[in-house]
């Protein structure tokens, strides 16, 4: 009697053992699959996004200087230009956003990898002022500019113009007409006029910058 009853118990426990093992294996496979799916960091996608963001904020074609974007140039950044700047984005869905404004979008990047960069957006403005100068008079430009244009009236008798002490224009017969003078954006420009008097139109091109966040999203 006893060997028989043991045998019956073994069959039932074998069934329980198999069920327990199979469910533990299934659970293990599900967890492993989830872990592997989480471990996929899309390295190519990230590389493309980082490269595109990096090139856009440093390329001479789109910037005034590193991290200072040229407003006008950014308007024209299209798919071809972006592919040329950053070849890794070729053939991928990509979106380029400056703050809330979408500059360029190709495909429909849902999710994907986003890289954010802090940039300044520079817009060139034109300031024109006309001053009447006398011998020894000077004029300081309130905002820094990379170059200045001076337009002297035809009856002007100004002979010499100095920019921060350096002689930039000189004509013993009197300066007339339009001249372009290079200035430095690292210092305030003071123009000094010598040798005569006259009306001068001073045109400067100060850059106006505002801060912005550039977001590049790339999706495979």
């Amino acid at each position: 009697m006893s060997p028989n009853s043991r045998g019956q118990a073994n069959l039932a426990s074998l069934a329980i053992a198999l069920v327990a093992l199979v469910s533990a294996t299934t659970l293990g496979l599900v967890v492993a699959d989830g872990a592997l799916a989480n471990a996929d960091r899309e390295p190519l996608e990230r590389r493309a996004a980082v490269a595109a963001a990096d090139r856009v904020v440093t390329a001479p074609g789109t910037t005034v200087r590193p991290n200072v974007l040229d407003r006008e140039a950014m308007q024209t950044v299209g798919g071809g230009a972006l592919d040329d700047l950053a070849p890794p984005v070729e053939g991928r869905a990509v979106r380029l956003r400056l703050d809330d404004e979408t500059l360029f979008e190709r495909g429909d990047p849902i999710g994907g990898t986003t890289v954010q960069r802090i940039v300044l957006v520079a817009e060139s403005t034109t300031r024109t002022r006309t001053v009447t100068v006398e011998d020894g008079g000077s004029h300081t430009l309130p905002r820094r500019t990379t170059h200045v244009e001076l337009v002297f009236a035809t009856d002007s008798t100004v002979e010499t113009v100095r920019l921060n002490g350096r002689v930039v224009l000189h004509d013993p017969d009197g300066l007339r007409g339009r001249f372009s003078v290079r200035a430095s954006r690292y210092e305030t420009a003071t123009l000094a006029f010598e040798g005569g008097s006259g009306d001068v139109e001073i045109v400067s091109y100060p850059l106006q910058t505002r801060k912005a966040t550039l977001r590049v999203t790339v999706d495979d």
């Binding site: 006893s2 009853s5 043991r6 118990a9 073994n10 426990s13 074998l14 329980i16 053992a17 198999l18 327990a20 093992l21 533990a24 294996t25 659970l27 293990g28 967890v31 492993a32 989830g34 872990a35 592997l36 989480n38 471990a39 960091r41 990230r46 904020v57 200087r65 590193p66 991290n67 200072v68 890289v115 954010q116 960069r117 802090i118 940039v119 300044l120 820094r144 954006r185 690292y186 210092e187 801060k211 966040t213």
Partner: protein, 145 residues
Amino acid sequence: MTERSSCRCESAARGQLSISVVEAAIGVLFLFAATATFALGVPDAGAEEAQLDQYAQDAATVLSQEPPRHAGATRLSEVSRSESAFERERDALERRVERILPDNLMFRVVTPHGAVGFRRPTDTPSGRATVPTLSGRVAIWVWYA
């Protein structure tokens, strides 16, 4: 004889806990051990720190190319120049960095003559960038508020 038979009965009663259940229990333990290594997960990709580093680097690039307010080559070399220059410029520097960085970031700028910004927490991930200037290094730390 009676003793023996009772002994046999006992061993038969013990035999009811099947060896296959014991084996299965050990097997399940082994499987859980393997599952646990997956459940612990893989380490973080470090994308957050990379982004913070990028923010710090961008802020450093922008600042290091800005013209000085008074004297020096750039804004950062101006503040690292001397104690008095730093004292004069510290508020302007703080305002400027605050304006450049997105609103969700906190920062600390350390110059050879002092620091501006917030106290840096030790338990949050942060990004860092340094800019060498004539009179020493200027370090910028950023972290999420």
